[in-house]
């Protein structure tokens, strides 16, 4: 037989070892994203700030969706959630393949016009949509993503107008292109944008 023995140089072993270590290290560092909620069986007809009809999650299938839950009469926490959404979008470099949503859980007051003004106040990018809808539809949507709300106080202003405030869940979620909610964080916390950006960068790559 004229077969030459394969000579494996020690340097190849080293290279193989480094490669395998790198692969193992990467897989160890990869987060295991479990499905928190599968939205595939759901279909919610909502409307955005420009009165354009939106079907959730159908219209967003094939893309990552980052969504926060707010109401515009909220003076303290919801502005933080909104600012975190803005920061996530900015830090990701305004990606085309990620959708950003702010969903109102106060559809009675948060009409498309109000949401449009809210976007202006917070200088929200045009590719971020704020959604509202029929109260029963919005309630079903909130139930499906486990966002809870309860009226906290009702007060009459000096001008005689009755206003109310809501206690609410504080969440920003990420839905994957298959329509599964895979990430859920406290929406108003200052550390949230960097965590979600890291997660999305590892997922999108």
């Amino acid at each position: 037989m004229n077969t030459k023995p394969t000579i494996v140089k020690p340097s190849s072993f080293v290279l193989l070892f480094i490669f395998l270590s790198f692969v193992l290290l990467q897989s160890a560092c990869m987060k295991d994203y479990k499905v928190i909620d599968d939205m595939n069986d759901a279909s919610f007809e909502l409307i955005n700030q420009d009165s354009v009809r939106v079907i959730f999650p159908e219209d967003f299938r094939g893309q990552y969706v980052v969504m926060g839950f707010v109401y515009t009469n909220c003076p303290d926490i919801c502005p933080l959630i909104t600012q975190n959404l803005i920061k996530i979008q900015k830090d990701l470099g305004y990606p085309d393949n990620v959708q950003f949503l702010g969903v109102s859980f106060d559809p009675l007051r948060d009409t498309p016009e109000v949401l449009h003004r809210y976007k202006e106040v917070f200088k929200v990018d045009e590719n971020v949509n704020f959604l509202t809808g029929e109260p029963t539809m919005v309630q079903s949507f909130m139930d499906s993503v486990r966002v809870r709300t309860q009226e906290s106080m009702r007060t009459t202003t000096e001008s005689g107008m009755e206003i109310y405030f809501l206690n609410h869940s504080d969440k920003i979620m990420v839905m994957n292109p298959k329509g599964e909610i895979i990430i859920e964080y406290g929406g108003s916390m200052p550390s949230i944008p960097s965590l979600i950006v890291q997660d999305l960068q590892s997922l999108i790559q």
């Binding site: 009469n73 003076p75 303290d76 926490i77 502005p79 933080l80 609410h168």
Partner: protein, 183 residues
């Protein structure tokens, strides 16, 4: 009238007098007890009557509360805003912030946001007490001054006025900037 009936009638009169005396004593002690409880057990209501409780004996050398890093969230007329600052008591007497007013809105309230059982809760505060050397941050997600439906647009860089009324009767009047200078 025989002696027995006289004795009986005088005993009955004594009992009557004793009853009246007892009732008067019970009324006085009840009145005193209720009066004391009203003051001791209901600090909220006492604070609401700040005019009656304002301590005129406090001197300006004892009282020194300051606001630092004050700012208000930009918004449009008719929407919502909030003001934030750090309140510090540099004086030697405790006090309580009991009311806030602003030129931006007729409806200004003191609120506290906090997490309770997974729900973000916001509650109006009747007062915020501050002890000597204490520093209380009014910041997003905590204590804040809610400016309800301002009558004007509050744009970044605008100035609005805040007046803070304390239980002692002292008032801080300050002009604060719209927009977070730290951002």
């Amino acid at each position: 009238m025989n002696n027995q009936s006289l004795l009986f009638s005088s005993a009955s009169a004594r009992t009557k007098k004793t009853h009246i005396l007892l009732m008067v004593l019970i009324s006085i002690s009840l009145g005193l007890t209720l009066g004391c409880n009203t003051k001791a057990d209901r600090p909220d209501s006492a604070l609401e009557e700040q005019g009656n409780l304002a301590d005129s004996s406090i001197t300006t050398s004892e009282w020194s509360i300051s606001l630092n890093n004050a700012w208000a969230r930009p918004t449009k007329a008719g929407m919502m805003s909030a003001a934030y600052f750090t309140m510090r008591n540099n004086g030697s007497v405790p006090d309580s912030l009991v009311r806030v007013s602003s030129n931006a809105s007729k409806d200004v309230q003191i609120h506290l946001s906090y997490m309770n059982d997974g729900i973000m809760v916001m509650e109006e505060q009747p007062f915020v007490a501050i002890q000597p050397s204490e520093q209380i941050p009014f910041q997003p997600g905590g204590y804040h001054i809610m400016i309800i439906q301002p009558s004007m647009d509050m744009n970044e860089g605008d100035m609005i006025s805040l007046s803070l009324f304390f239980n002692s009767g002292m008032i801080i009047e300050q002009t604060i900037q719209v927009g977070n200078p730290a951002m």
